[in-house]
Amino acid sequence: MTKQIIVPFGPQHPVLPEPIHLDLVLEDERVIDAVPSIGYIHRGFEKLVEKREFTEYTYIAERTCGICSFIHGATYCQAIEQIMNIEVPERAQYLRVIWSEYSRLHSHLLWLGLFADAFGFENLFMGAWRIRERVLDVLEQTTGGRVIQGSAKIGGVRRDISGEKLDAMVKDLDILDREMKDLTTVFLEDESVKHRLRNVGILSREDAYHLGAVGPTARGSGAAFDLRMTGYGAYDRLNFQLVTDSCGDCYSRCLVRAKELFTSTDLIRQAAKKIPDGPIDVKVTGAPNGEFFMRAEQPRGELVHYVKGNGTKFLARSRIRTPTLTNIPPLVKILQGCELADVPVIVLSIDPCISCTER
């Protein structure tokens, strides 16, 4: 029997700025098992809910993640709105969809860049982030924040987008689409990229399903699972095709994200076309009394915000389950049997966001 050795991966690793620690059990160069551990960046967000008013907690919920911040804020608001039976105006629902999809574009472009960096394609990394800048500019022009948008609030949204601005945004999407097309062609067609990603880190459809994979990790394995299909917010009035791929390797996960960029731009176009005029928020009075599980689709997968109110301004309990947490068991499964040199690419392929995971 070959001697087994343990190689630590993280919490400080060049490929991943976020602190996840994996103990890789190796036999020669092959990974036999991986033991993950988290807990380096816990910030106690869920306890903080007892100390801050539920309206102010929106700003804190949003800061759970620095990449999909708007969706965190909007999901928390939707949970409270469900408890308090607040009817959100149509326009606000569409605006939430527009900002959510811009967040998705920004997150996927960020990930594509990081992924290119992980397989050693620096130029592509810079290219992806240059395009991402265009998305961040739109977010800053419409909400006031590049990364932390801060435009969701209980009962609606805090800012409106004017008709002219919406038209300009839709016009800009054409340029964005063209640039993204050039970028994704390299990701999906280039021989050296394909060679690095094909048949690396395979996750079967059954494993994805049984281990609870969510988001592009599940869709890359052929599990057609996207919460936007359930039609929360204004998603039920918009049409889109789910992107899935059946191979389940790193290339499939990359392909799903690359194609979802175009789904997002399409959704923004539809929303900008259908958005009705009207108020953007309703006045909220009283305090939430009850509990609700709100699920939403983040760029990385399913996000769950559990909120329990006790009739006072301070909530009794908040629980946030982020997609990376559920993607860790599939990650461990993928790592079993892979080569040590493939580990950085595989870890990045699930798009881990550890700060989100630990809250």
């Binding site: 008013e53 700003y59 290219g127 800053e140 924040g145 805090r158 050039d182 280039d190």
Partner: protein, 129 residues
Amino acid sequence: MVFFEMTKTALKSVLSKPATILYPFEPAKKTDLSRGHVVFDGSKCISCGICMKKCPAQAILVTKEAKTWQIDRFRCIVCNSCVDTCPAKCLSMDTQYTAPVSVKGVEVFTITYVKPVKPPADKAGAAGE
């Protein structure tokens, strides 16, 4: 199969302006809505303390007796909550970030607002005559 796909992008990059700017020699891109830092106007503040209550980061301290308004810029998360809720509109959001400092500390502002004295009804009537 695609070869030399990056050539187009590379040529474009060579021929176009740099995508980055030479910050701080060139100013950073800012929009009208950008949240930079909170600006306080002491001549309008009525010391109600709503900004202090609504601050999710507990960065603001309003002392009525000493007539001071303090902000800890290192705690402030620039969420715009205080600006939105201020009834006297003495707070506003500047689009530029605060300059870096070498010592941590709070910024203290003096509240100079003086409540206008309402003239008694009979006197006002006399003035009108």
